[in-house]
Amino acid sequence: MPDSEGLVEAVDRCAYCHDQCLAGTPELLATRNQSAAVSRVAIALRTRRLDGRPWDAGLAERVFLGLNDGLQFESCIYRREGHRIEPYIRAARAEVIAAGLAPPSVARVQDMLGATGNVFGLVEVVGEPLVSVPGTPILVHDAASRALNPAGLRAARELLRRVDGRLSELPVASCGAVEADLGLVDHARRAAGLMLAALDGLPPGPVVTTDATVALTILAAERSLGRPVNRSVAHLSQYLAGHPALPRPGRPVEIQVAYHDSGPLARGLGLTAEPRALLAAVVGGGLRDAVPTGRRASSDGPLAGYPRPDVALTMARARLAELAETGAEAIVTAGPYSLRNLRAADPGLPVVDLWSFLAAGWSTEPDFALAGLLASSRSAIEGV
C-alpha cells in the first residue's frame, strides 16, 4: 500500500484503536464476526505489509466486505483529525485486484464496465446533453439512477420544470463512484474525467443531481483531478429546499412516512434536514424518523460489486425493521442504491423514492396521487 497519502499511518491508527466505531460498522452488525471490525481488518493489512506476505483470498474478501459509507466516521475517535478508513481500504482493494484476487462480484463489475461503461450493463448513448438551455440547472445523472430509479428520474425532471420552467440534462455513463469504491482506480478516473469534460462543454448553470454519489464525485474530482467545474453542485433536495419557487404547502396529506437517510447523502454531503423539510411540507406531522437517524442512520447496504449478497440483505432487513418500528405506512428515500437495497429485502411496506413522492405531493390532488403511488409500490412488492 503506498505511503504517499498517509495510508500506512491511517492503518496503524485503526490497528491500535479501541474500536469505538464497532456499532457503526455495518458489516460487523450484519455478520457479528469480530473479523469484520475495522481494527481487525487494519491489523490484517498491517501485518501482511510488515511480513511481506502476498494477498490471499480470505483477506481479499474481507477488504471488499467493508461498506465504506462513512458510518464508522461518526464515532471515530480520530474524526477531528479527518482520519478516514476509505482511502486505505480502496487502496487495498486496488492491490487485491492487481494481484488477480478480486472476488467474483468485482470481476463481474469489471466485465460490465468493459462492455458498457457502467456497472449495470445499460447499453445507451451518453455523454451528450439531452437538453441544454443556458442558465438553467443541469440535471446530471449516471446509469445508477437510470437503472435503479427511472421513475424517480422522470419525477425529478418534473420537479425541476415546476420550479424553473426549463432544465438542461446531462446523462453520463458513470460518475465513477462505484469504481472508486471498489478500487478500480483507472475506471474511476476515466469515468469522472469524461463527466467533467462533458460538463465543460455545457453553458453556465448549476449542476443538480438526484444521486448524492454523483455530486460527491464531482466535488472530489475537482480536488483530486484538479479540474474545477466552475459551477455550483447541489443535490436536488438541497436545490429544491432553498428554491424561491418552491410550492407553498397546502393542507398536509394524511400519510405517515419514514424517511431513510442514504449514506452518501447524509454522511457524504451532510444533507439530512433538506429532504425532511421537503417531505414535511407534504405530510406535515406525518413524517416519522427511525432511530438511529440522520448522519448516524443505519446503512441499507452497498453500492455494487459486493461479495456477500447475504450480508447486504441482512443490513437492509435490519434497517427496514427500524423504519417499520416508526409505524410509518411507507418509507421514502432519496438514493438510487438505497431504494434498490431496501426494495430487495422484502420490505413489507412501500419504499418510494423522494422525487416521485414529492411530484405526487405537489400535484393538484396530492391525496389521490400519493395513494396511487403507494398502492402501485405495494402491488409491486406483493407481485400483484
Binding site: 491500535y16 469480530q34 498491517r46 483477506l59
Partner: protein
C-alpha cells in the same frame, strides 16, 4: 488439567451444537478474537502476535445454543471464554490458548419491555449503542453510558460490573440489573426472578455481576430503563485544587443531589481536555443533570451553591459541550499505544470519602516515581456515592525500548495498586480484574476472601472450564 482433543474431534462436537457456518477454526477468525482492549494484548495483536489464540470461535444465537456449546465443550474438556465487543481493558475476554471463544453478539434481541415497571429484558450480546438506539425508539434510555458504549455489550457490562458516565443518577450495572439468565458450566440454566428487591437469601443474580464469565455465561438480563430525559443542563466550574473539588462533590451527593454526570478533572487533564477554557493549574468540575425539568433545574442550582461555596468559578458552556461531544474518545490512550515503546492505561479505583483525596495523592506520587520523565500521570474522579467515589489515574509512558514495555507497564500498575490498597481502596471500580489485575486480587480480598472465591468457583465450575484465565486469585 484440560485435555486437548484433536481439532477434528473438537469440530465434530461443536457441529453437534451449532450449524457448521457458526463454528470456525479459521486463523483469520481466531486472530480477530485474540485481543480485547487491554493494552498489552492490543499492542501484541497489532504487531501480529498474540498469545491468546483460541482453537475455535463459535457464534450461538439462542440460549439453548449456548447450553449446547457448553455441553459440547464439557464433553471435550475444553475451556470457554465469552466474548462481546472486545472492549474490556483488563484481559478478561482473552481466550485460553486451548479453548473456545463464544461470541455472544448474535444474542442481541430485546425480548420484552415492561413500560409500567420500566424494565427491559435483553439478550447479553447486544451492543450498548444498539440497545440505546432501540430503547430511544421507544422513548426510553438505558441510563448506562460508558465510554465504550459503541463497542461493548450488555453481557460485558454485567461481566465487569460496569459503570457509565451518567451513573451518579442512574446507578452502575449492579443497580440496573434486576435479574439474569445464566448458563452454568454444567449447561444448566438459571433464571433469577425479576423483582425490585428480595430477601429470599443472598442475591443470586449478584453472583454473576462482576464474575467476568468465570461462573457461567450470562445470556440475558432484565435491566431497569428510564424515560428519555426531558431536560439536560450542564455546568462547569474552575476550582482551585482537586481536593477542594472532591469536597464540593461530597457535599453535593451527601445533600442527596444527584446530577447524572459528576466529573472532577485534575489540572493536567483539565488543561488537556478543555484547553482555552480553563486557566493552567485549575481543576475542573463538570456537572450534567438530566431528567424531569423541575428536578434537573433544582439539582443544578443547588449543586452550584455548593461549588461556589468552595470557591468554584463558573466556566462557559464550552466545557460541557466539549465533553458531551468527545466523551467516548480514547484517542489519547490509543495514540500512545500506537508508538513502539509506548504504553498507557486508565486505572479506576474507589475509596470512601475520608480516604479518597489521600488515595489520589498517594497513587499519583507512586506512579509518578516509577514513570519519572518518561511520561506523565493525571486523572479525574467520576461515579460518586453517598460514601465515596471513583478515581481514574491515567498514565502514559515511553519505555526505553519496545521489549521493556511489559515490565514498565507492570511496574506502574504495581506502584499504583500497592498505593491504592495501602489506603484501603479497591483496585477496580468498574473495569474488573481480568488477567491484568489478578496479581493484586489476593491482597485486596485477603486469605479469607480468596478461599471463599476459590470455593465458590470450584463448586460451580469444578473442572475450571469457564474463562479460566481471568480472576485467578
Amino acid at each position: 488439567m484440560t485435555v486437548v482433543p484433536g481439532d477434528a474431534e473438537l469440530l465434530r462436537a461443536l457441529h453437534s451444537a451449532l450449524e457448521p457456518e457458526r463454528v470456525s477454526t479459521d486463523l483469520a477468525n481466531r486472530l480477530a478474537y485474540a485481543r480485547d482492549a487491554s493494552p498489552l494484548a492490543l499492542k501484541a495483536a497489532a504487531g501480529g502476535h498474540s498469545p491468546y489464540l483460541a482453537r475455535a470461535v463459535v457464534w450461538p444465537q439462542t440460549t439453548s445454543e449456548v447450553q449446547a456449546v457448553v455441553r459440547a465443550a464439557g464433553t471435550m474438556g475444553v475451556a470457554l471464554t465469552p466474548y462481546g465487543g472486545g472492549s474490556g481493558i483488563v484481559g478478561a475476554g482473552l481466550a485460553d490458548p486451548d479453548g473456545i471463544i463464544v461470541d455472544m453478539k448474535r444474542l442481541d434481541r430485546i425480548r420484552a419491555i415492561d413500560p409500567i415497571s420500566m424494565t427491559a429484558t435483553v439478550e447479553a450480546g447486544i451492543l450498548g449503542a444498539v440497545l440505546e438506539d432501540r430503547l430511544n425508539a421507544q422513548g426510553l434510555t438505558c441510563g448506562h453510558v460508558p465510554q465504550s458504549m459503541n463497542s461493548s455489550t450488555l453481557g460485558g457490562w454485567i461481566a465487569h460490573r460496569g459503570a457509565g458516565a451518567f451513573s451518579t443518577k442512574y446507578g452502575t450495572v449492579q443497580d440496573l440489573v434486576l435479574s439474569v439468565e445464566v448458563v452454568l458450566p454444567s449447561a444448566e440454566l438459571v433464571q433469577t426472578r425479576t423483582v425490585p428487591a428480595s430477601a429470599a437469601g443472598p442475591d443470586l443474580a449478584a453472583l454473576f455481576v462482576g464474575a467476568e464469565g468465570a461462573l457461567g455465561i450470562v445470556t440475558a438480563a432484565t435491566v431497569q430503563v428510564f424515560p428519555m430525559p426531558a431536560a439536560r443542563v450542564h455546568r462547569a466550574f474552575a476550582i482551585d485544587s482537586f481536593g477542594a473539588g472532591l469536597e464540593a462533590v461530597r457535599r453535593i451527593v451527601q445533600r442527596g443531589l444527584r446530577p447524572a454526570v459528576v466529573r472532577l478533572y485534575d489540572p493536567v487533564e483539565a488543561s488537556d481536555r478543555f484547553a482555552g477554557s480553563v486557566s493552567p493549574g485549575s481543576s475542573v468540575l463538570l456537572l450534567v443533570a438530566e431528567g424531569d425539568p423541575v428536578l434537573t433545574g433544582l439539582t443544578i442550582s443547588e449543586a452550584e451553591v455548593e461549588v461556589r461555596g468552595l470557591g468554584g468559578i463558573e466556566l462557559g458552556s464550552a466545557v460541557g459541550e466539549a465533553w458531551l461531544a468527545e466523551r467516548t474518545s480514547t484517542a489519547g490512550l490509543c495514540r500512545v499505544l500506537a508508538t513502539p515503546a509506548g504504553i498507557a492505561d486508565a486505572l479506576e479505583v474507589a475509596n470512601v470519602w475520608s480516604r479518597l483525596a489521600a488515595t489520589y495523592d498517594r497513587m499519583m506520587a507512586a506512579m509518578g516515581d516509577v514513570i519519572g520523565p518518561a511520561g506523565r500521570v493525571y486523572g479525574h474522579g467520576s461515579h460518586f456515592y453517598h460514601s465515596g467515589g471513583n478515581l481514574y489515574l491515567i498514565f502514559e509512558v515511553q519505555a526505553d525500548q519496545p521489549t521493556d514495555v511489559a515490565r514498565v507497564y507492570h511496574d506502574v500498575l504495581a506502584a499504583a495498586f500497592n498505593a491504592c490498597l495501602a489506603e484501603g481502596g479497591t483496585l477496580t471500580h468498574h473495569h474488573g480484574v481480568g488477567r491484568t489485575k489478578q496479581e493484586w486480587l489476593a491482597r485486596e480480598w485477603g486469605p479469607g476472601g480468596v478461599g471463599l472465591w476459590r470455593a465458590v468457583r470450584t463448586a460451580i465450575d469444578p473442572e475450571g472450564r469457564m474463562n479460566p484465565g481471568t480472576m485467578r486469585a
